[in-house]
């Protein structure tokens, strides 16, 4: 199969962070993800694209087991991070999610201060031994999210008072504060205006140096701008996966081609 060949090539070039094999997801009777195999590389931005309802977000939520919170969802198959099966009985989703951070579609800062928002993760995971340590983590995370300059004078102000773009960067800072190895982003720019989007996209590009970033996006332009790899989902199938440039210039599957040229979606 074509896409299998593509994945194999990817594995050859870089270290693989996440490996998925024969993943199936059911919501009650609805078969949402059908037999997905994918390898996601470390220190790379991987984009999931596809029409709405194609299962890209569902698959993303499998990687940090957020689907566990939906009682009707059922996941089968294997997803391995660094060779460890995350659906193994011994794995605690809490520990997993510290390793695999997530940023959501709509900015969802907690109704707390900016400082407390960022410090939330480190606090619950016990990452700091004292206040100075925590201050340090907060500052570093905010710097990494390119927000420090804008908020350093009002760390005690509520996070909900920031603008949409700032809120989303705050959520990214919150996610990187637990020093994850993988960062999942579920359409992180869909609620933002173009300027904020540009800021967040720039940030994503920088984050690549430390994390394996997986981003679900609606916008093909965004995928082309920020990602090195792109996976195209359609009706629960992973149709095509490969170098972003290749997917957008010479897709192999006719469905990918139709989507990219705007005929489905």
């Amino acid at each position: 199969m074509n896409d299998m060949r593509l994945t194999e090539r990817a594995v050859d070039q870089e270290t693989t962070k996440i490996t998925a094999r024969k993943v199936q997801v059911y919501y009650g009777d609805n078969h949402a993800i059908k037999n997905v195999d994918v390898d996601i590389a470390d220190k790379t931005v991987t984009a999931f694209i596809g029409p709405s309802g194609c299962g890209k977000s569902t698959f993303l939520r499998c990687i940090n087991r957020m689907n566990d919170t939906i009682s009707t969802a059922r996941v089968t198959g294997d997803i391995l991070i660094d060779g460890e099966d995350i659906y193994d009985k011994r794995v605690d989703p809490v520990q997993l999610r510290a390793k695999v951070g997530m940023v959501f579609q709509k900015p969802n800062p907690f109704p707390k201060s900016i400082y407390d928002n960022v410090a939330y993760g480190p606090r619950i995971h016990g990452l700091s031994s004292n206040k100075a340590d925590l201050d340090d983590i907060v500052e570093r995370s905010l710097r990494r999210a390119a927000l420090w300059g804008e908020v350093k004078d009002r760390l005690a102000a509520p996070g909900t008072g920031l603008s949409g773009g700032q809120q989303q960067r705050l959520c990214i800072a919150r996610a990187v504060a637990t020093s994850p190895e993988v960062l999942l982003m579920d359409e992180p720019c869909s609620a933002l205006d173009p300027i904020a989007t540009a800021q967040v996209e720039e940030l994503i590009d920088e984050l690549r140096q430390n994390y394996s970033v997986v981003i679900v996006t609606h916008s093909m332009q965004q995928a082309a701008r920020v990602s090195q790899r792109t996976a195209f989902f359609h009706l629960g199938h992973l149709v095509e996966y490969g170098e972003t440039g290749k997917i957008f210039t010479s897709p192999e599957d006719p469905r990918t081609e139709s989507y990219i040229s705007g005929r489905i979606g």
């Binding site: 995350i86 011994r90 794995v91 520990q95 510290a98 390793k99 710097r143 420090w148 020093s179």
Partner: protein, 449 residues
């Protein structure tokens, strides 16, 4: 500005193998389990309280639905009851209960003797086996059926409350030995009567039909007047609160402009829903009784007070039901040239009706159980006369089910605790039926848009 290249040496969570649990995660999971257990305990306490409450009421009250009676062959001599012999009830009514008392006593002695039961109780103690009320009941029976005079007929008479309590386990030989009102010998005789088949415990219809009994006659106390009074009040509440509540809701939901007066009404409704019920009682006393001069203890006053209390509930439910009707229905009617009023009355209101009725029944159920305001408007009075039929009966004195419960808790004879709990069972059965009707309506007619 950014600082993404700065190497942050990670420490703690998320590092290392996912398969090995670190100590901190174990601790956090323990906290999680503890927290979840607290929640489960809270739910269980709630359910346990419900069970405890129900058990307490049922164990105390179920026996109220059984009543011990004694079958006595009563001789009804004409020379004592109707000397004239014309069987004119007015003349016969001149013989008071004092005239019947010795008849019943002598008949009881004779019945005991005929059954071959030996007893050394004196006639007065023997007579105390039956309720004082049974003399009055015998008289009423004779006045209603004059043809029995001159015959000897079998009559089921109420046993005294203590004897009744003996067969329900409330009175024992030990307690009787300490009680001035009943002696162990009387209990022995009662047991003998039971063996002879003359004394039996059966379903207590009187509890549901008789009026209240006096302090010393718990065995004759019934809920007849209370049930009737509650029924009258519910009719008034239904007749007033439903139309007024629906009218108010229609106005607020469909017509009200955004202005001060509308705001004032809204604020008032939400506050009235939370005003303590006793305040409504004060209102009823001050306005309806003292100011408007309506009679005390009358269902009309109780009904008016409960109407005012129920209105907010009905308005809130009705508005929710009206809100649930999609605007497309209104638009469709208006588009055909119906006036706003027509679109509301012809289309929106019928569609909202199941929701309105459900809310009304729930409001009525609340009103049925309400006690405090009724105490203040005098419904706690001792009423033995059934109110007459409506509309005049609405102005006659009556009591209400929950008030009757309160009334009985204030009496000293422990038999009244049984009656009060029994009355609560009746009340709860009514509430259950009403709520089941509401649930049925909701299930049957609920529409999802």
């Amino acid at each position: 500005m950014t600082d993404a290249t700065a190497e942050h040496v990670p420490s703690g969570a998320g590092q290392g193998s996912l398969l090995a649990k670190d100590a901190r995660t174990a601790k956090r999971n323990a906290a999680e389990t503890r927290f979840k257990t607290y929640g489960l305990i809270a739910v269980c306490i709630g359910i346990a309280m419900l069970i405890l409450l129900m058990t307490s009421i049922l164990s105390n009250g179920l026996s109220a639905f059984r009543q011990t009676t004694i079958q006595v062959m009563v001789e009804l001599p004409e020379d004592k009851l109707d000397k004239s012999g014309v069987r004119d009830p007015e003349v016969m009514a001149k013989v008071t209960t004092f005239g019947y008392k010795p008849l019943l006593r002598d008949s009881l002695i004779a019945t005991v003797a005929t059954a071959g039961i030996e007893t050394d109780l004196d006639p007065k103690d023997l007579e105390a086996l039956v309720s004082d009320e049974s003399v009055a009941q015998l008289r009423d029976f004779v006045l209603a059926n004059p043809e029995v005079i001159g015959q000897t007929i079998p009559v089921q008479v109420l046993a005294n409350g203590r004897i009744d309590g003996f067969f329900k386990g409330r009175v024992t030989y030990e307690s009787a030995a300490l009680d001035n009102n009943v002696s162990p010998e009387q209990l022995q005789l009662a047991e003998a009567l039971k063996e002879a088949g003359l004394l039996r415990t059966g379903f207590n219809w009187g509890f549901l039909t008789l009026p209240d009994g006096s302090d010393t006659r718990p065995e004759a106390a019934g809920l007849g007047v209370a049930i009737l009074g509650s029924l009258y009040m519910m009719l008034i509440v239904l007749a007033l609160a439903l139309p007024i509540g629906v009218a108010a809701s229609i106005y607020l939901e469909e017509f009200a402009p955004q202005n001060r007066w509308t705001d004032l009404i809204e604020v008032n409704i939400s506050n009235l829903a939370a005003v303590p019920s006793i305040v409504f009682g004060i209102l009823g006393l001050a306005i309806f009784i003292n100011f408007a001069g309506l009679p005390q203890s009358a269902p009309i006053v109780g009904g008016l007070v409960l109407t005012l209390m129920t209105l907010p509930t009905i308005i809130i439910a009705t508005r929710a039901a009206l809100k649930a009707v999609p605007p497309s229905i209104r638009d469709a009617a208006l588009g055909l040239g119906a006036s706003k009023m027509q679109s509301v009355f012809h289309h929106v209101l019928p569609l909202a009706m199941p929701g309105i009725l459900t809310g009304t029944i729930i409001g009525l159920a609340q009103a049925l159980g309400e006690t405090a305001p009724l105490l203040l408007i005098g419904m706690v009075a001792f009423v033995r006369e059934y109110p007459s039929g409506p509309p005049e009966g609405l102005f006659d004195p009556a009591t209400a089910l929950p008030v009757q419960v309160f009334n009985w808790t204030q009496r000293s004879d422990p038999a009244f605790v049984e009656r009060a709990s029994g009355a609560i069972i009746v009340l709860l059965v009514f509430l259950l039926l009403m709520n089941l009707t509401a649930i049925f309506l909701r299930r049957r007619f609920e529409r999802r848009w």
